[in-house]
């Protein structure tokens, strides 16, 4: 079991290490001449107006919440899809009911206007 997952951990470790080494190498090789203007936030050459820590559109939260709902339902489909042949007609009918409920949810969200971006 572990021998299957060990290479994955090594790969992730390798990828992250590569990133760290590159960032450190850049810090070491690059010059360091900070000036007042260089360190201000870039706003197309204008004086920055306030910070970026402000409220933003609620729609982004909406998408995130909807994503969690639907993604969990997609995850439920994976084991069903793998075992589809063994489950046969009963499995298919149960999943159809499940998907219908999912579609009703999608339709409700749609009608409520949560998917509108204008």
């Amino acid at each position: 079991m572990l021998e299957h997952y060990l290479p994955i951990f090594m790969m992730i470790l390798g990828g992250v290490l590569f990133g760290i080494v590159m960032v450190k190498l850049n810090e070491w090789l690059g010059p360091r001449r900070p000036t007042e203007e260089k360190l201000t936030t870039y706003e197309s050459g204008m004086e920055p107006v306030r910070t970026a820590r402000e409220r933003f559109s609620v729609k982004f939260y909406m998408v995130a919440v909807l994503f969690i709902l639907f993604d969990i339902e997609v995850v439920f489909m994976y084991p069903w899809a793998v075992a589809f042949r063994e489950l046969g007609i009963i499995g298919f009918v149960s999943m159809t009911v499940f998907i219908l409920i999912l579609l009703i949810g999608l339709f409700y969200v749609w009608r409520k206007g949560a998917l509108e971006w204008d």
Binding site: E3, P7, V23, L39, Y42, V74, L115
Partner: protein, 347 residues
């Protein structure tokens, strides 16, 4: 035994990572040359023969640049974000089968870094982590453009992840496994005795939706709204300089390679070259042919990515979200039901 596994894995990882990085270097070059060709320009042709060393020169230049962190930025996360991006981009490749088994020094070696039985779940899980790199980069910069780019990007990535996950469900129903190696094995048979049983033919709707979602997941045009230069300057990496910017750039192209490899594995038959098993090659040559086939297929998909980028205009944000939620999501759900009905009729 344990040290042997570690050594072999280390060797495989080294080869794969180095290959990906080399591919990225040439991919950037090819992209610039193709874009020049499409727009009737010359493109980079001065550094090295035919300009082949242009990207190498760019990377060296980025290495020597000053690493500027704006005063208002959150330094720790600002540093962390590109590392997450590149780490995620490089580690996705761990479960992709590059070829069949190969016999080297009297040992059967599987040409896959980690042959886990939840391969697809691993890919989905790791690619979801990629959202963190972009969102954190946008947030920590404390720049309005970056924040907007990061937010748009995270909304886009999670929206299309749904359709991506659902398009794979059809493939899973056909092949009945989550293991990528087995999915490729399943595609080595023939339909009607002559047509390769690639999932592209078995799952045409799933194939189209998956490729579309892959475009969105890799932030490529027509879905490159996170960067949308005319509106957002540079998007989430506006405040990045030097190699930290370079790492985002690298991660983007590494993601493109991974996406092409996943498309190849899931839908285009993976490493298998149709009819080659009838030629009667020795097993060693056959393994090499399979690896070559895999590379050619991945290269072809990447070429498709590049040409699409320089052919289509960018979506508006509302069009993008409408496409994701109102078209792709219902289509992929219906595709799951259709696949189920067809499979039930056939058995």
């Amino acid at each position: 035994m344990a040290t042997e596994i570690v050594l072999i894995s280390l060797l495989k990882i080294l080869v794969v990572v180095l290959t990906i990085l080399t591919c990225v270097v040439f991919l950037v070059y090819i992209e610039r040359r193709v874009s020049a060709f499409v727009q009737n320009r010359v493109g980079p042709n001065r550094t090295g023969p035919y300009g082949l060393l242009q990207t190498v020169a760019d990377v060296v230049k980025l290495l020597m640049k000053e690493d500027i962190v704006p005063r208002n930025a959150y330094k720790a996360i600002h540093d962390l974000a590109p590392i997450i991006s590149i780490g995620v981009a490089l580690s996705t490749f761990a479960v992709i089968p590059i070829g069949d088994t190969i016999e080297l020094f009297g040992r059967q070696i599987k040409l896959i870094i980690a042959d886990v039985n939840v391969g697809i779940l691993y890919i989905l899980a790791i690619t979801s982590l990629g959202v963190y790199g972009i969102t954190l980069a946008g947030w920590s910069s404390n720049n309005k453009y970056s924040l907007l780019g990061g937010l748009r990007s995270s909304a886009q990535l999670i929206s299309y992840e749904l359709s991506m996950g659902l398009s794979i469900v059809g493939v899973l129903m056909v092949s009945g496994t989550l293991q990528l190696d087995k999915i490729v094995q399943h595609q080595t048979t023939y339909l009607f005795g002559w047509l390769p049983a690639w999932n592209m033919f078995l799952q045409p709707i799933g194939f189209i939706t998956f490729v579309t979602a892959a475009f969105a997941e890799t932030n490529r045009l027509p879905f490159d709204l996170p960067e949308a230069e005319p509106e957002l300057v540079g998007g989430y990496h506006t405040e990045y300089t030097g190699l930290k910017f370079g790492l985002f750039f690298l991660a983007e192209y590494a993601n493109m390679i991974t996406a092409s490899a996943v498309i190849t594995t899931l839908f285009l038959g993976g490493w298998h070259l149709p009819y080659v098993e009838y030629v009667g090659l020795s097993s060693f040559i056959l393994s090499l042919v399979y690896v070559g086939t895999f590379c050619v297929k991945v290269a072809a998909v990447m070429m498709f990515f590049i040409i699409i980028r320089w052919t289509l205009p960018r979506f508006r944000y509302d069009q993008l979200m409408n496409l994701g939620w109102k078209l792709m999501l219902p289509i992929t759900i219906i595709n799951v039901l259709l696949t189920g009905i067809v499979l039930l009729i056939l058995h």
